[in-house]
């Protein structure tokens, strides 16, 4: 089969009607451009929104659960060992919040090669004194270096440097909302009181803005040492272990394993934030649906143009058949035409889509809640470009298939005699 000859014929037919061809190709280009830009933008936004929560959420969190003691005294009594004991009004005992054997646990986790990093943390409920009123808030005792590395803590500290809490003793970073409520700023001293009644003065070395207002109104960060001091606990008092994994999908398995191994409560990110995955999935679904709709519309355009071309080229088809081209050859010629439109339009669309993405990436997007974001987010993913090109080929092929079959069935005798 002489493909180059058939290809040459299709190109000649295309060029003879270059305006129509251009319209068809522009249709494909436009839809691919929009497809790429839409998907890039949508996914960029998805990444941003997910990042708001997921970036600073540990993949697995270990903590001591406050729960009812599994070993109730009555069960140990031999007298009541037959049958089941129903116990009413059981209350959780005042169990210790700190994790036992913190040092060996941290070491063991660090040596696990599925783990990217581990950051210990202490939660402390405190009251911030603002003149005559007390505001309840939380001090998170963190290891600044680990927190910065694993959870991009530095990105959210808008004033001051997050490392200062380690350098300066008795220092704290307040949420911006909290600082505004207390009418204080960096360099000032804030008074806090613990539920046990201890009072402390802490120096404010920075402010942070997480992007979630409610969060900023109650949260603050201090070093682990400072927090331990506030709570009056020793250096092995750690209430949470935050773990970031190399592969996020392993989180449920690892959580379960650690929970059994270390006898602690364990929560994985999928359970803690399942709504975010659902949200991302639905947004992606919508953008794919819109993109593919655009392509199908472009496909109908190609179908129409090829159909018209066939009516115009009836004579040419008849003559090709009369001089020895078979129906299959004619079919291939029209498929070539459709695919040429698809490939040229599609590749141009990818290029324009990339340019539009670059353009969107330059548009200023400044919002108080997202201090690190200056322009609209765009994701550049080779995968989108692959899908775009594949779909442009598939739709143009489908659009070409019916007209091409029609062309291959043209009866040359009817055309030649009918004139």
């Amino acid at each position: 089969m002489n493909y180059s000859l058939l290809y040459k014929i299709s190109i000649s037919l295309l060029l003879a009607r270059w305006k129509q061809t251009l319209v068809a190709a522009v249709g494909v280009t436009f839809s691919i451009t929009m497809f790429i830009a839409l998907l890039g933008f949508m996914n960029g936004l998805n990444d941003l929104l997910d990042g708001l929560i997921l970036n600073r959420t540990p993949h697995v969190r270990l903590y001591n659960e406050i729960e009812v003691n599994q070993h109730q005294p009555i069960n140990s009594n031999e007298e009541f060992s037959i049958g089941h004991n129903f116990i009413n009004s059981v209350r959780p005992a005042r169990s210790r919040q700190a994790i036992y054997n913190i040092e060996p646990i941290l070491r063991a986790i660090e040596n696990d090669n599925r783990v990217l990093g581990v950051a210990p943390k202490i939660d402390a409920q405190v009251f911030f004194n603002g003149g005559t009123i007390d505001i309840t808030g939380i001090i998170n005792g963190i290891d600044a270096a680990a927190e910065g590395k694993l959870f991009h803590f530095g990105d959210y500290v808008t004033i001051g440097s997050f490392q200062d809490i380690e350098v300066m003793s008795n220092s704290i970073i307040l949420g911006k909302g909290l600082a505004e409520k207390l009418l204080i700023n960096v360099g000032d001293v804030v008074q806090i009181a613990t539920p046990q009644g201890e009072r402390f003065s802490l120096k404010i070395v920075g402010l942070f803005q997480s992007g979630i207002q409610e969060f900023d109104k109650t949260q603050s960060y201090a070093s682990i040492k400072t927090t331990q001091k506030i709570l009056g606990k020793g250096t092995n008092y750690i209430t949470n272990i935050q773990i970031k994994l190399k592969d996020i999908s392993l989180a449920p398995v690892v959580a379960k394993e650690y929970s059994q191994l270390f006898q602690t409560g364990a929560e994985d990110i999928q359970t803690a934030n399942s709504q975010f995955e659902t949200g991302s999935f639905v947004r992606s679904l919508i953008s794919y649906a819109v993109g593919i709709t655009l392509l199908i519309v472009a496909g109908f355009g190609i179908y129409n143009i090829l159909n018209m071309m066939i009516y115009e080229k009836m004579d040419s088809i008849a003559i090709l058949k009369a001089t020895g081209f078979s129906g299959v050859d004619v079919n291939r010629i029209f498929i070539f035409i459709a695919l040429s439109i698809g490939i040229s339009g599609g590749l141009l669309g990818l290029l324009f889509g990339f340019l539009v993405s670059l353009g969107i990436d330059q548009i200023p997007f400044e919002t108080a809640s997202l201090p690190t974001v200056k322009t609209y987010p765009v994701r550049y993913d080779i995968f989108f470009y692959g899908i775009g090109l594949t779909f442009s080929l598939v739709t143009t092929f489908m659009a070409g298939l019916f007209p091409a079959n029609k062309a291959s069935k043209v009866d040359p005798v009817i055309i030649i005699r009918g004139k």
């Binding site: 003559i319 090709l320 058949k321 001089t323 020895g324 078979s326 129906g327 030649i416």
Partner: protein, 226 residues
Amino acid sequence: MNETVIEARKINKSFSDPVRVQVLKDITFAVRKGEFVSVVGKSGCGKSTLLYILSTMDTDFDGDLLIDQESTTGKKEKYLAHLRNGKIGFVFQFHYLLNEFTVLENVMLPGLKLGKYPHEQVEQRAMERLKMLDIQSLALKKANKLSGGEKQRVAIARSLINDPLIVMGDEPTGNLDKKNGLIVFDIFKRMAEEYNQTLLIVTHDQEFAERTHRIIEMDDGRIIKQ
């Protein structure tokens, strides 16, 4: 010289739309190599229908058609297309060139399709044929820039590109003025006499027919005189 090129055996054909009309009745004849045959008859006597059956483009008939002593009955469309490509040259009443191509490309296309010779050789053969018909100067013009007579000569050159067994013509001079008609006729005559080319031409031009070697006269779907 008595080798049969094309043979029709008891060919019958009817159209059934809107009423059943039999257009060809028991057509039986043969054309031998080197013959210059014309088919004449009144309009509607079935001579064009017969020609399209002989050309293998119309396969909807009863009877048997032998080309190069080989039956074409029941053969696939692709096989017939290949047969047409290599063994039959066709000249139509309306010139039917591909307007998207130059004269040279138009002549070359069936040759390239056959693929018997490489590209350069097909081009050279196309030029030879254009020279033979004295239109080599038009080679690089677009087909739609030519006059009717020129187009018909290009169509003849195209029909000859693959050295066909037989050249068929459907009223090849019917759409031309007297002068161009004569030129085309002279070309056919020359092909028959100098190159021993077999020709089968359908015409209603009595004058044209009388100057051919053999006349087949048709009336109402039958051959009445050979």
